[in-house]
Assembly symmetry: C2
């Protein structure tokens, strides 16, 4: 089989694969289900293979995966056990597993220096400067991910309880949330006891839309969240002088710019490409270099 480069963007809800020809041009794409190597590595492996076969199918190529080389960007790439398990079972001739953040960075910036902020349910900030990659933030909902949708939704529930107890003045946002829980704080407590980050995150769009209408609580929550993003962007600018390009990615990428400090807002540029494009580009670099 001719040399093909496969890039894979493995996420918690779906797995995307793209196959590129020897020139690095994407000739087919495929998508399958969840590929979380930490929580369910076997399902992840199945979906990685499925997405890759679909990509070869779209390219009209009868694939022999054991002849192809793939680069995968996944969450949990820093957990050695999970990576070893998956790496040993991948169907490819050569494979490399990197962080989902790194393929997003490559997709957004290409080979240039610069920084990205991934602002979705969680948050993480990644900077490439002088051939080094710096990761800031992340660390998950419980003690990190400040500025992410889960923390934003969580803050909205907490505020609603303060409004219910008349500790803080109410607003339309608090009324909307308290209505949903029949004005019974115990229902909010029950929800919170079982809530996963994604469950809290479903309240983030509610906060965003009330903030857009000028709701006082929603605006305060958005500004608090944006100040966390500002702080992380400042920390990256202290490393590279704030000279590189800066992209926001993720579900809140379109929302944050108007809430950020001007010094960051004025630097923002749209990403060149997405994480899957980045994975393919890194695959080409990794395996062409190795001459495979």
């Amino acid at each position: 089989m001719q040399a093909y480069f496969i890039g894979i963007d493995g996420g918690g809800t779906s797995c995307r694969a793209a196959v590129a020809d020897a020139d690095g041009r994407i000739i087919g794409r495929g998508r399958s289900g969840a590929s979380n190597i930490l929580t369910d590595p076997d399902t992840a492996l199945r979906h990685i293979e499925e997405a890759t076969r679909l990509a070869f199918g779209e390219a009209g190529i009868s694939a022999d995966l054991s002849e192809a080389s793939a680069l995968l960007g996944v969450a949990g790439n820093n957990v050695g056990d999970a990576v070893s398990y998956v790496q040993a079972r991948l169907p490819f001739r050569h494979s490399e597993i990197v962080s989902d953040g790194l393929i997003a960075l490559q997709g957004a910036l290409g080979d240039d220096d610069g920084a990205i902020g991934i602002v979705g349910t969680g948050t993480i900030f990644i900077l490439r400067h002088a051939d080094e990659i710096h990761y800031l933030g992340g660390w998950g909902f419980q003690v990190g991910d400040l500025g992410g949708g889960a923390r934003l939704g969580h803050a909205a529930l907490q505020e609603s309880l303060l409004v219910h107890d008349r500790i803080r003045p109410g607003s339309a946002l608090a009324a909307r949330i308290l209505d949903e829980f029949a004005h019974d704080p115990r229902k909010i407590v029950d929800f919170a006891r079982a809530a996963r980050p994604g469950d809290y995150g479903r309240y983030a769009p509610v906060v965003v839309s009330f903030a857009a209408e000028g709701d006082a609580i929603a605006l305060r929550l958005m500004k608090d969240a944006a100040s966390h993003v500002d702080e992380a962007l400042d920390a990256m600018a202290r490393i590279d002088g704030g000279t590189g390009r800066l992209c926001l990615l993720g579900g809140l990428a379109e929302i944050y710019p108007s809430y950020l400090a001007e010094r960051h807002r004025s630097r923002l540029v749209p990403p060149q490409g997405d994480a899957l494009t980045g994975a393919v580009a890194l695959a080409v670099k990794a395996f062409r270099r190795e001459g495979v």
Copy 2:
């Protein structure tokens, strides 16, 4: 058997009982193990009976519990199922289950109007005014208990991660915490994933002691926490005009006064008695009224 009044303070780590004579004078006390009616009602029942028998023993009385009347203050008294289960199995002739907050209020204020703030691992604020009891706050670690030791400890861990990532400037407190986790953020994330409120709460005394030495992060966390307590106290003052007595109870009661707003600090008085004394007083009132 002569009429005896039993007061019980049932907590998550221990159960305390006191027995009073017909005049309401406490003549014996007993202590046993955990009595959480929500998580382990059968153990709670056993410890309630054990503490009561010890109290009768200290009083030198051969007890017939089925002739005595008891008032119990417990956490979870608003969860109907747990209360019904326990109430049906208590060994007493008459029994009444109220909140742990109510016996604390009675102990602190006697029959007077006024307010208490229980500031321990969690927080709750209770006001008695014009024959009504108002509860504010509480709601547990996930979406409430602002100003409590668990939230304070949690905030310290979160700050330490921001310091680790150089998003915020460090301090001796952050260094102390990062040292404990070998400067490996993943160890903090692992801790947080499994941590119960009490686990976070163990970092509260660390914050308190660093704040006393002027540590910048610890001072900011203490002031943030105290501002939540101030807000709750303000909310109670809006109900009663701030005219009644005000007591702080719980593990942080001695710590908060110096961080609170002057308008609250100047009103603080020491509690008259503890929650167990309050339970006995409420038992006397409840059962003497009923003529039992």
